[in-house]
């Protein structure tokens, strides 16, 4: 029983991490139907920016997380204005191939700039080691992930449901044409959403460095997870992504603990079943 609770705790922490990395992609895909595989490259970029800031510039951990967020958001604006926006009207496959090309380029560029080796990070001492809670031995860093991820989710949901900007985003996801017709600057909304989503991807990547290992092949390892979260959750749905991320996180940790010989099989099977049962995702609307 205790181990099950520990697994649940670890799985949820992992799931929230995936959520932070994937949510931006979900919203932009729901809004523009733009398939951006290079989203995961921004997570890697975030990780490297954080490690670089801490090692080379001596920036404290929490500040470097914010730095990762800012750097990725800024970089994504550049990317969107220069490259991606020319391909909004293109078909799915063109977008997949274009962003796959960008992903390959990002891997090689990161290897060139920061070297191909694995990058460790030293988190502050208050985040290392374990603590006990009701007889359970839990890792402090995972608790940090859980708290930070939970707070981010609350902020996101509040922004989307309660602010003017959130209403615009929801309107654009529902129908870009109708939103545009009622006077919303959809391009502007999209650009801002894209930047925020990319910033979150970077933040998620930075938070993941201590848990997942960071090297130039990071995008190839985690691209599939992010895609799974987005498609299982349903494009454009934040709650869907949250649900899917937690489900995948817990299923992955559970599967690896109880059935290690099956490895990643568990989540792929889950994905295939969900997609066959509900092609639009758990919380997605039918096309």
């Amino acid at each position: 029983m205790t181990s099950l609770l520990t697994i649940l705790f670890n799985g949820l922490a992992y799931g929230l991490l995936l959520f932070v990395m994937a949510v931006g992609l979900s919203v932009t895909m729901g809004m523009m139907q733009f398939v951006n595989l290079a989203h995961i490259s921004l997570s890697m970029l975030g990780g490297y920016v954080m490690v670089w800031a801490m090692d080379a510039a001596g920036v404290p951990f929490l500040v470097s997380l914010l730095l990762a967020f800012g750097a990725c958001a800024a970089f994504s604006v550049l990317l969107e204005r220069l490259v991606l926006r020319h391909f909004y009207g293109a078909d799915d496959l063109t977008q997949v191939l274009l962003t796959l090309g960008l992903l390959f380029m990002s891997i090689a560029s990161v290897a060139f700039i920061w070297g191909p080796a694995f990058k460790p990070v030293t988190v502050p001492s208050w985040l290392t080691g374990q603590f006990s809670l009701a007889g359970l031995q839990l890792e402090r860093y995972r608790l940090f992930l859980l708290v930070a991820g939970g707070l981010l989710t609350l902020v996101l949901v509040f922004t989307l449901e309660r602010t003017r900007f959130g209403a615009m985003v929801r309107a654009c996801v529902d129908s870009r044409r109708a939103a545009s017709g009622s006077g919303i600057n959809t391009d502007g909304v999209f650009a801002l959403t894209f930047a925020l989503g990319s910033g979150l991807a970077g933040l998620g990547g930075a938070m993941s460095v201590n848990l997942l290992s960071l090297d130039p092949n990071f995008p190839l390892r985690y691209l599939v997870y992010v895609l799974i979260v987005v498609s299982v959750g349903g494009m454009g749905s934040i709650t869907g992504s949250l649900l899917a991320a937690c489900l995948i996180g817990v299923a992955d940790v559970l599967g690896k603990y109880y059935l290690p010989e099956l490895g990643g099989l568990f989540i792929y099977l889950l994905t295939v079943i969900v997609m066959l049962w509900r092609p639009q995702g758990l919380m997605g609307r039918a096309a």
Partner: protein, 326 residues
């Protein structure tokens, strides 16, 4: 203008063009060129065949698959197991592998035929990942990361032993690739092929014309998978080694890239794409073994941005314009 008879239409469609002769002649000439890199050329043929198998699905039917390496891998492992456990005759081994992979393809087609867009991509990708995981983890059956070793392949037709220089391998692969390409050529120019293209353009209209659209998707998956299986089996037989990497998702992505570089729905696009991709990879990797992916990525971006329809259709278009201009 007189109305074309239907039989005339199909005859016209399947007439051989001069450059097709040139294409196959080139492969024969390359064999006799001294010091030609036969290993690389064999790789190009195998990858080209693999890309053509995806073309049946993507180019002619308009269904993308992110999991085509699954079929390549099933074919490779089938041929590998046959060779390892005593069935060493290569040609029958190839046919058995094609049959097994074809059945897997029919099954997959039956499962995914109702899906579109992202869901379709995710299910094909997911099934690919499941297979990869299974292959990598079942170390007692597949040898895991060490790969399947001790594969014995008898001489082709009892006469031609697979030699160190890859001469037998090259000729064997070229002949198989030629025959399969002829079959695919006949298939895509047949009424069935026309139906596939029709469904690609407008599924709804084809349903109204009474075409069994769903059944055709299943069949297209089966055919495409069988060809991919032959490509995988060829690789297993000529290298006498099978590794889980043959099933990996990156292979699915690579083959998609090759096909798009070369051009979809033009039959030879896959070969051109495979040649460009593999030669460039060789060149870039020789320049720098770590960063060559950057150039492949850049190539992909440029191709997608500038000539989305691929190299071969672009050249064909230029050629037609040139001839009309005269």
């Amino acid at each position: 203008m007189a109305r074309m008879q239907i039989s005339d239409y199909f005859a016209h469609q399947s007439r051989w063009g001069g450059w097709e002769y040139a294409f196959w002649l080139l492969w024969i000439v390359l064999f006799f060129v001294p010091d030609s890199n036969l290993v690389l050329l064999t790789q190009i043929l195998i990858w080209g065949l693999f890309a053509m198998s995806l073309d049946v699905l993507l180019g002619y039917r308009g269904i993308p698959s992110l999991g085509h390496a699954a079929f390549f891998g099933i074919g490779a492992y089938s041929a590998g197991f046959l060779g390892k456990y005593g069935w060493t005759e290569p040609i029958s081994g190839l046919l058995i592998s094609a049959l097994i992979t074809g059945c897997a393809g029919l099954g997959m087609g039956r499962v995914v035929r109702g899906l579109h867009g992202v869901a379709l991509l995710m299910v094909t990708l997911g099934l690919n990942m499941i297979l990869f995981d299974f292959v990598q983890r079942s170390t007692d059956i597949t040898g895991g990361d060490d790969g399947l070793q001790d594969i014995v392949i008898a001489p082709v037709l009892g006469m031609f032993r697979f030699d160190m220089y890859g001469k037998t391998a090259y000729v064997y692969v070229l002949v198989v690739v030629f025959i399969v390409t002829l079959l695919v050529r006949a298939l895509v120019n047949s009424p069935f092929g026309l139906t596939l293209r029709g469904s690609r353009e407008s599924t709804r209209r084809m349903i109204m014309l009474g075409a069994p659209v769903d059944r055709d998707v299943t069949l297209a998956f089966g055919v495409s998978a069988a060809i991919a299986g032959i490509a995988g089996a060829l690789l297993a037989q000529t290298t006498q080694f099978v590794a889980p990497e043959m099933v990996a998702f990156t292979r699915s992505a690579d083959v998609l890239v090759m096909l798009v570089i070369g051009g979809t729905a033009v039959l030879y696009g896959g070969y051109v794409g495979a040649a460009v991709f593999l030669v460039l990879r060789d060149v870039f990797a020789a320049m720098n073994p770590v960063y060559w992916y950057f150039w492949i990525g850049l190539l992909l971006v440029v191709i997608v941005a500038l000539f989305r329809q691929g190299i071969l259709p672009k050249l064909a278009e230029k050629w037609t314009r040139f001839r009309e201009g005269r």
